[in-house]
């Protein structure tokens, strides 16, 4: 992907904001859970591209979703080549847990999963549009079917946005 380039500002060099935790650490997972509990906040709701009907859709999906959505990120420095999955478990309309799931167990534990490369995730964190990443095959399905995704797509889109917005100290990408 091109066009973002801001990812390094959030770490990948040790300059994260003071409240940032190491990416994928317990502190970061907890910060993500807290963000999800407060979401959607006023800033999210003020986006002119998201109408009332959009939020009604998202709310409807959140209330009905019983299971776990996960994003797998491949090639996180220090964590091997395979994806590390961040799973968001929902029940009764709230996020009950945020946890890491091993790749071998993801089919059993996750209802719907997408996956991306670490470099692409850093671009998304830096502002690259999640919708474009989805369009350009940068966030392919890892668990579930295309229809499963389409049935809750804006809910997933929002979850990815919340995840990208949690301050983190990102490790520098390993030079190829």
């Amino acid at each position: 992907m091109t066009g973002a380039g801001g990812a390094a500002r959030r770490g990948a060099g040790g300059h994260a904001s003071p409240e940032a935790s190491d990416f994928l650490s317990e502190g970061w997972l907890e910060a993500l859970r807290v963000s999800l509990a407060a979401w959607p906040d006023d800033a999210a709701r003020s986006d002119p591209r998201k109408a009332e009907s959009y939020w009604r859709y998202v709310e409807r999906k959140r209330s009905a979703f019983e299971g776990a959505f996960a994003l797998g990120i491949r090639g996180v420095p220090g964590r091997g080549d395979g994806p590390v999955y961040v799973a968001l478990r929902f029940s009764g309309g709230t996020c009950a847990a945020v946890e890491l799931v091993e790749e071998e167990r993801v089919d059993d534990e996750v209802t719907l999963g997408l996956v991306c490369d670490y470099a692409d995730w850093l671009e998304i964190v830096g502002g690259y549009d999640v919708g474009k990443a989805m369009t350009y095959h940068r966030l392919p399905l890892a668990v579930g079917t295309a229809l499963d995704l389409l049935r809750i797509v804006y809910f997933v889109y929002e979850l990815l946005g919340v995840m990208a917005g949690v301050p983190a100290d990102y490790p520098s990408p390993v030079a190829a």
């Binding site: 591209r49 998201k50 859709y57 989805m134 369009t135 389409l150 804006y154 889109y157």
Partner: protein, 347 residues
């Protein structure tokens, strides 16, 4: 110059002709003044005299007897047009000096969705070719070239008429992306997932029917026609943007081949395996559920159509396409269709 669109044309039909909207009507006579034959034979210049409603009717009238893929391919060879023949000089003047801020705002919002739609249907089509019959592959190759040409058409429109900075095709796509009115990838962006699934199992008839439902039936057969109606109706009424008018009307004629092929594919598939109708329904339910989030398509009034007219136009087109596929409409789906928001997308 821009006035030529109206001035040289035949009787200018009213936009209400479809918008009104003969929901169940299947007009026997598709056009007033201009026949299907004239649309079929027109060169690029000739499109300045043809009203978009007549071409939309041409799309639908062709569905009564769908030609086989190789006949559609031969038609493509006759109808192919050169996107580099268009001259956007007058369009640039109209855009910068004659259109109002409101008109520009709505127009670029609608055109941006189509710019990306064209790119997305171009990029995702090869997966559908993989599991197709050999005759179908030949037609699909022409369909793919059409979509590439449509992508270049919008690239030229956004750089030469709107005045976005030139650059790579992706640079211009990124710039026009900023105009879109909804968050998320949109229905054409989500083709990526449907085509990823098809790649894994390209002969699977259920995958193929779902793909043709979102791609040919919904994006091309419903969403695209509304964008054409909104923007081309505006150009004709105001006498603006002559190159856009000619190129996008020619694009609409190309869509006739795509939609006819797609509806033919769905008809054949369901004739052979009637249970596949369920896959059409399920894909449509899902798309319309996504559509329920689309409440802020703002207003199209600056371009002369109100939201309700666009919405009703979508409903008519969707109902017609399902009738053309020859499958009954379950009542739950009819209810959802009746409530749908305007779907202004395409490719």
């Amino acid at each position: 110059m821009g006035q030529a669109i109206v001035g040289d044309g035949p009787t200018v039909p009213t936009l209400e002709r479809e918008g009104g909207c003969g929901m169940a009507a299947q007009p026997q006579q598709s056009v007033e003044g201009v026949g299907d034959e004239e649309i079929s034979q027109s060169d690029l210049e000739g499109f300045s005299k043809i009203h978009i409603d007549e071409v939309i009717e041409y799309v639908n009238s062709g569905l009564r007897a769908i030609p086989p893929p190789l006949d559609l391919y031969r038609r493509y060879l006759r109808q192919r047009w050169d996107v580099y023949e268009l001259d956007f000089t007058q369009d640039r003047i109209d855009w910068s000096e004659r259109m109002t801020d409101d008109e520009r705002d709505v127009f670029q919002r609608v055109a941006s969705g189509f710019h990306h739609g064209e790119r997305n249907v171009e990029a995702e089509l090869p997966t559908f070719m993989m599991g197709a019959d050999e005759e179908d592959k030949v037609f699909i190759s022409s369909h793919l070239e059409d979509e590439a040409r449509h992508t270049v058409f919008f690239d030229r429109f956004f750089t030469e008429a709107v005045g976005l900075d030139e650059g790579s095709l992706m640079d211009v796509l990124d710039a026009s992306y900023e105009f879109r009115s909804n968050a998320g990838p949109g229905v054409t962006g989500l083709l990526s997932y449907v085509s990823d699934e098809l790649v894994k199992d390209p002969y699977n008839p259920r995958n193929r029917v779902r793909y043709a439902t979102i791609y040919h039936l919904f994006i091309e057969g419903v969403g695209a026609l509304s964008t054409m109606k909104i923007t081309l109706g505006y150009c004709r009424r105001r006498g603006f943007l002559p190159a856009y008018y000619k190129g996008f009307t020619a694009t609409c004629r190309d869509e006739a081949r795509h939609v006819q092929y797609g509806m033919g594919f769905l008809q054949d598939s369901i004739r052979q395996a009637p249970a596949l109708a369920e896959d059409v329904y399920e894909m449509l339910r899902t798309i319309l559920d996504m559509n329920s989030a689309n409440g802020n398509q703002a207003s199209f009034e600056a371009l002369g159509l109100n939201t309700e007219e666009v919405r009703r136009f979508n409903i008519v087109q969707l109902t017609r396409k399902l009738a053309d596929v020859g499958i009954p409409l379950p009542s739950d789906l009819q209810d959802v269709i009746n409530r749908m928001y305007p779907e202004v997308t395409g490719g």
